[in-house]
């Protein structure tokens, strides 16, 4: 008998197995929802499909009676704008500091311990200080995203930079490259795809901080809506919002991966992929 570790599912089985956990979750939800609705038809905790569909229609396809906006879309635009700006700034800062910290000994000596300590401070615990410095407007939300993910990106990239074989740096020097040329021609091209990896890994945290920021003080956004609806247990709105955030986050991750594949084709060559 072949060992279990050597058995591989065929294509169809693979697809079925992939879908199985999702199907189980949906069935669990349906049964539990049915059980609660049979006791209380107005139950808010696990609403039925028709209630959820009505909520989706109301939020996404009908203008809000008070503001005239299509709430799901206006919330999505607000949140993605904040997230986009925050992640872009964090990528820029992370890229510059990560490479310098990984490559230049003087820079590493100055900042390595500092970013190490900084990354251990939970940003949500020092919120009042962030408020006083950056106010309560859009800036504060972007800053929270940046502060939340930048230490990780810097540290990750510094490690990746330090992993560049020292022979390459020596070789560039024997060819007469200055520090600046080494950074631009040897290090940066290799580090850009790694930076994208770092950003991809920190996207989950970025969403977390964005939603926390929107929960604290806001008048629009996906996190704002979820926390507002939570005040009266409107799970029929919250569940589709959660699903929507998951789809957005998954798509962003996929987009970054595709970009990496196309822009840095060399990374996927040479190692059998």
């Amino acid at each position: 008998m072949r060992r279990f570790i050597n058995r591989r599912p065929d294509a169809v089985t693979q697809l079925a197995l992939m879908l199985l956990p999702f199907v189980i979750v949906v069935i669990c939800y349906m049964v539990a929802s049915e059980a609660r609705l049979s006791v209380n038809p107005n139950d808010k905790l696990l609403p039925g499909w028709s209630t959820i569909a009505a909520a989706v229609e109301r939020m996404a396809f009908l203008p809000d009676p008070r503001t005239g906006n299509y709430l799901l879309w206006s919330d999505t635009v607000s949140s993605l704008t904040r997230l986009g700006i925050g992640v872009a700034i964090a990528t820029l800062i992370g890229g510059v500091f990560g490479i310098l910290q990984g490559l230049i000994p003087y820079f590493r000596a100055t900042f390595n311990a500092f970013t190490g300590v900084l990354s251990m401070i939970p940003p949500l615990a020092v919120l009042p200080i962030l408020f006083i410095i950056f106010g309560l407007g859009e800036l504060a939300k972007v800053v929270l995203v940046v502060v939340g993910i930048v230490p990780f990106i810097i540290r990750d990239l510094a490690l990746r930079t330090a992993e560049i074989p020292h022979e390459e740096i020596i070789k560039a020097q024997t060819l007469g490259a200055s520090t600046w040329q080494i950074i631009l021609r040897v290090v940066v091209p290799q580090m850009l795809p790694r930076l994208i990896d770092g950003v991809r890994l920190s996207l989950g945290a970025a969403w977390l901080f964005l939603i926390a920021a929107e929960a604290i003080a806001s008048d629009s956004g996906l996190g704002y809506r979820i926390f507002l609806m939570r005040r009266y247990l409107a799970m029929d709105v919250i569940l589709p919002y959660v699903a929507w955030i998951t789809i957005l986050a998954f798509s962003l991750d996929l987009a970054l991966r595709l970009f990496q594949r196309i822009a840095f084709r060399w990374m996927y060559r040479g190692n059998g992929q």
Partner: protein, 360 residues
Amino acid sequence: MTSFKLSSLRLFTAAFAALALVLVSLSPAYAAPKKDFKVGWSIYVGWMPWGYAQDNGIVKKWADKYGINIELVQFNDYIEGINQYTAGAYDGIMSTNMDALAIPSAGGVDSTILIICDYSNGNDVIILKGKDKLADIKGQKVNLVELSVSHYTLARGLESIGMSEKDVTVVNTSDADMIAAWGTKDVTAMVTWNPMAAEILADKSAYNVFDSTKLPGEIQDSLVVNTQTLKDNPDFAKAMTGIWYETMALMSAGDEAATAAKTAMGTASGTDLAGYEAQLAATAMFYTPQDYISFTETELEKTTHFVNKFLFDHGLLGQDATSPGYIGIELADGTIVGEAGNVLLRYNTEYAKLAAEGKL
């Protein structure tokens, strides 16, 4: 393929077990006579006596008298407690009348207000920075917890000077961050409650331009219990009523024991005796069963209409609601405000009357 069958069989077994587990944990509590009761409460001036009663054996004394177990659970997040009660995990919860109507009642959970503990008489305040008239709020951004009693206070305040919410921009702000938010230059107008309001008003630039002394009896803080649980377990209601009025008698006696009790309540809510007394001054406590009974006979019907209108205007009575009276409210004397066919919130003074007559 055998391997697939084998592993899929195991998977299905695991899935079935998981399903059963989820079902058990999510199915609502079916009402029937029972022995163990859970009631949630959160830190607020009018509810601190519950915590004191729990810590000092008053809860146990009354529970033992009726041969039941009562567990009072403190929630750090007020709304989460109400959500848990609505989902069926708790038998009772401390809530404002407005939230009781908007969350459990609008969610189809028939609920009864067994005791009104107090009403806000200055605890909810509209604060402006550098301006001393409510009319100056026009065009400003107002930081508050949206859809809360603060939002209600704002709506009623604006109404009182002929303005509406269209004249301001509401910014939803977490209550935990109000004091920090006040320190930022973006924030010029705020609605919040004590103890945060007192802290903010200590700032020289802060002016109290409207507060709940102008809305007497509209913001009630109550013990809300599941109506079915109440019907099946009158002993639970008797014990809760007994606990409350014994603690109230202790607290209002004006002797050394009262001071000690109030000091303990103040400390538990993060302040001291003086701070707690200051909060009590902005709160109309219902110290005796008679206070509660006479309130339901006089003010209640009028205030109920204001609350209904606010909730309806903000879509909080549910999407099917067609009028402010969509959810019927049964007053203590049996009068029904709103639709008689959809009564989901009831005021009950039956047990308070037993307490008044000393029959508990």
